[in-house]
Amino acid sequence: MARTGWLAGSAVALAAVGARALVRRWPPRAGTDPWPGRWQVVTVAKRPEQVLPGGRWPEPLSRLDGAVEVRARAAPGGRGTELAVRPLGGEPTLPGPAAHLVGDEPGRYLRQVLRETKQLVETGEVLRADRSPLDRPEPAG
């Protein structure tokens, strides 16, 4: 157990994860994570009470309520908050964005949600891409 206690989110679960036989492969290939239900973690440069005010999940993480479990704890060295997410057990049929948790690459999807959550908390906005060349009309000239 870590020295620093995890703080409860609205669907916190601290169940121990059973040991599983893992075959390590390097470099890992996309979509081949032998443990797709692992915790995905990001460090947010704010205090836990700023990341989860009143225990509420920040956007866009809150859209996954009911589909994931969340935990948070103070990061060492005053670096902010370690925010962790993983899919709830089983393979439920999930609506909306949560459908990404089943099938394709749940770990990658959760990392993306965590990145956007972190950006929103730290900078006040989610950085948007430029319009890609594919979005543009056929170049002329």
Binding site: R115, P139, G141
Partner: protein, 378 residues
């Protein structure tokens, strides 16, 4: 607007593309006045970046005039003349707050391809959107995200031709000396006499190095080194570099060795002859004194074979890397430019209109006609 676009491996063309728009509250739009070629563009140009999409706008070193600002921009006003750092960094994450803007957590956008190490660094202009990059500066206009962090007003006494190099080349050179921890009395060796190599040498001199030696194979570039940086020049085609460096450093080897060579020149030699690159890096490791520091500034090489790890451990070397200096050094560099302590305009060996962008990159890629950098004017 007109912009220099990637059209596939080895092909560039100026195309008509939509004007950029404000996409976030911290954005601003800059009308480009100058933009410069960079070695970091060559892997993309050569078609070695699989995430690239036809139509990407190139260029990450540019300077211009503010024409539109988002509601959260505080440090800039319309008509300000600004130089924009190559790295897109938020200024708010732990890395930015500790000065590591090039490691920013929030500088990329969208659903991006993750590197195998799953830790994307700061964003960059002129890099594929799938890698979290943003449209580049070889265009009439550019969107600048996190404008208060990445853009700096240019002092009146610094002209465009000098200031454009404060965007990326001069910060990279400064980083080379800084990562090496160059202190007065050091002997410093720099591989590569391109713009970054010359500016690394100049930065080492400015930090009080006793002797700075630049290694390259192009005599015209080495003459430029001798004329503008106060460093000595070594042409590796004519001398045994390791023996020469030992002799010039009292048999110890240089205290700091910086690999600023970038990718080899020319379409035929690269990547075919040395697919793993790393020639300069290996030589730097072998040359460095015991307990010294080797710095590699990247240059588009992702993997290196035959790395002399034994020399690193036997000699107790520190190896440090950096690819894209964050914008934190830009204000100091602009101040130095204003005091004429940092002179860069000679690096613009060729000045062309943007319409000749493809010709400019051919000159730059092949290092012909004494080309060090090409500066475009839209």
């Amino acid at each position: 607007m007109r912009a220099l676009c990637w059209e596939g491996a080895g092909a560039l063309a100026v195309r008509q593309v939509p004007d950029p728009e404000l996409r976030n509250a911290h954005d601003m739009i800059v009308r480009v006045r100058r933009s410069a070629t960079s070695g970091g563009d060559l892997p993309l140009l050569a078609g070695r970046v699989p995430e690239a999409t036809v139509g990407e706008v190139l260029g990450h070193e540019f300077l211009g005039e503010v024409v539109e600002i988002g509601p959260e921009v505080r440090r800039h006003r319309i008509a300000d003349r600004v130089v924009v750092g190559a790295a897109v960094a938020c200024g708010a994450c732990w890395f930015c707050r500790t000065g590591l803007l090039d490691c920013c957590d929030n500088g990329t956008s969208g659903v991006t391809a993750e590197p195998p190490w799953v830790q994307p660094a700061a964003g960059c202009y002129g890099r594929p959107a799938r890698l979290g990059g943003f449209a580049g500066g070889h265009a009439e206009f550019v969107r600048v995200p996190y404008a208060d962090v990445g853009a700096y007003a240019v002092p009146e006494q610094v002209d465009d031709d000098r200031a454009v190099f404060a965007s990326a080349a001069a910060p990279a050179g400064w980083q080379g000396a800084e990562l090496g921890g160059v202190v007065p009395g050091d002997v410093v060796a720099v591989w590569g006499a391109g713009a970054v190599g010359q500016l690394t040498a100049g930065a080492a001199v400015a930090r009080g190095a006793d002797r700075v030696i630049v290694v390259d194979e192009h005599d015209d570039r080495l003459r430029m080194v001798a004329r503008h940086t106060g460093a000595e020049a070594l042409n590796h085609r004519y001398v045994d570099v390791l023996a020469e460096l030992r002799e010039r450093s009292g048999g110890r080897g240089p205290d700091v060795c910086v690999d600023a060579a970038g990718p080899p020149a020319g379409p035929t030699r690269w990547p075919a002859v040395e697919p793993d690159g790393g020639v300069a890096l290996r030589e730097a490791v072998h040359a460095c004194r015991k307990g010294g520091t080797v710095v590699t500034l990247g240059g588009g090489t992702a993997f290196v074979d035959r790395f002399p790890l034994g020399a690193v451990t036997d000699k107790g070397l520190a190896v440090r890397g950096g690819r894209r200096r964050g914008p934190a050094a830009i204000p100091e560099l602009l101040d130095r430019m204003a005091r004429d302590e940092l002179v860069t305009e000679h690096l613009a060996t060729h000045r062309l209109p943007l319409e000749r962008g493809a010709d400019g990159y051919a000159l730059f890629r092949d290092r012909v006609d004494g080309c060090v950098r090409v500066v475009f004017t839209p």
